[in-house]
Amino acid sequence: MMAYNEEQFLMLSGLQHFVFCRRQWALIHIEQVWEDNVLTVEGNTLHEKADDPFVREKRGDTIYVRALPIHSYTLGINGICDMVEFTKTTKGITLANEDGQFAVKPIEYKRGAPKKHDADIAQLVAQVLCLEEMLQTTIDEAALYYHETRRREIVEITEEWRDKVTAMIKEMHQYYERKYTPRVKTGKHCKSCSLQHICLPELLNKESVLAYIDRMTRE
């Protein structure tokens, strides 16, 4: 399998944009245009996390690692895991400076309500793929934690999701290489898109410019 180098890495967190709308992802990650509310907010939260790296906490049988930087050379992505839980088990991986074997479970913190969103799942699956590659293990489930209800939703890492996320990331790399911003079907989701004033989705189904000039200047 082809491997990417670090220069080519794409942001893992971009997956949530990509799932929401491929064009939105391209506008942010290829064209690097954004309105304050998208990336600055994201940047700020990343900042908070970055200020708090590798916090390791041990409680009973479990080690909690926060803000863990992750990457995958096969997928060509990198990012940060909110939290990874290493729980003692009989057949897991070994960790430096720790006795025994551990099972790995990434947990992603979400601000909103407990609704397993495709974008959230995709992001989590990508994290799993990174961790599997880095730790040389398999991870069957991960979790989303919702602040609003303080509840944890278990997400099963299915083959289907693995394939889907792998394919998506491949597609991202293709767009990125061509520096291509896809034209997409616009719809209701555009209304809640923070980039609509830059994307101008209505342009994607507007009359042609030549027809416009003709219409305006005809007498």
């Binding site: 064209e31 690097q32 830059i198 000039i213 305006m216 200047t217």
Partner: protein, 343 residues
Amino acid sequence: MKRLLNIVYVSQSDVYLALNGKNLVLLKEGEELGKIPILNLEGICTFGHQGASPALMATCMEQNISLTFFSSSGRFRGRLTGAINGNVTLRKKQYEVSMDELESAAIARHMIVGKIYNAEQNLKRTIRDHALRVNTERLTQVVERLKQARKLAFSITSLEELRGIEGNAASAYFSVFDECILQQKEDFYYKGRSRRPPLDRVNALLSLAYSLLASETAAALEGVGLDAYVGFLHRDRPGRTSLALDIMEELRPVIAERFVLKLINRKQIQASDFIVKENGAVLLKDDARRSFFKLWQEAKQEQVTHPYLKEKIQWGLVPHVQALLLARFLRGDLDAYPPFLIR
């Protein structure tokens, strides 16, 4: 649409700009003249030789507030911009197109078509609104000539020829521009363009309006990630914001010229608002310039329906929208560049 924020115009040349907390502070001989929250600003335009503190400049760069320097007579000197909008792909495409005569001409001709069409509309409006007072025959003739020029421009693929057509159309239009001045005719007349320096009141007003429009257009272009210095119709010249001048072609008649005509025809500005220098240069007095800026800023708040987007926007956002449309065309979302055509 993007929010239209305020631009602060500092017209006195002995004012120093500083930062205090989250405020822009205007200082004169150490005294505080005024304080404006940075949050509500889109740009600061300064006229003359005053300074600005490094802290203020840093904040402007960070928050994407353009800081523009004009000479005291209103000539554009330069602008401070931050590092945001690092859209390399878009700019590369822009440079590619600018080096290709055919592709450049395809964009430039729409701008010229827009310019001529909008000039026609200005004259037609004068005919329509003041048929009894103006020489309609002369105006109608020019409208007809402009229409021919516009149709010709639409098929031109050489920049050289396009400039020729544009030049002819402009002189036809300005040969009757004086007809559009309906009030205070003994003090305000237009006999021809004089730039450096402007030799009559109308030219002084036009120069100032063009200057403001040029700097706002340049800021709008940079705001969407385009390089204001690399144009299609206007070729590269050190220090010249060629692309801003390109986009301005179509905006001059509807933004700058209409604004100046309105000032005169509504008597918002008077002969006594000007001074004549020894070299014949006509300048606006300080107070008058202040009211010019105020009215300019007010005009920017008025609504217009964008003819292509069919969306209501404020006039002040028109340069921004045109910049956005140009960027979207260069990125392949549109079949051509849609100029701003007024109804």
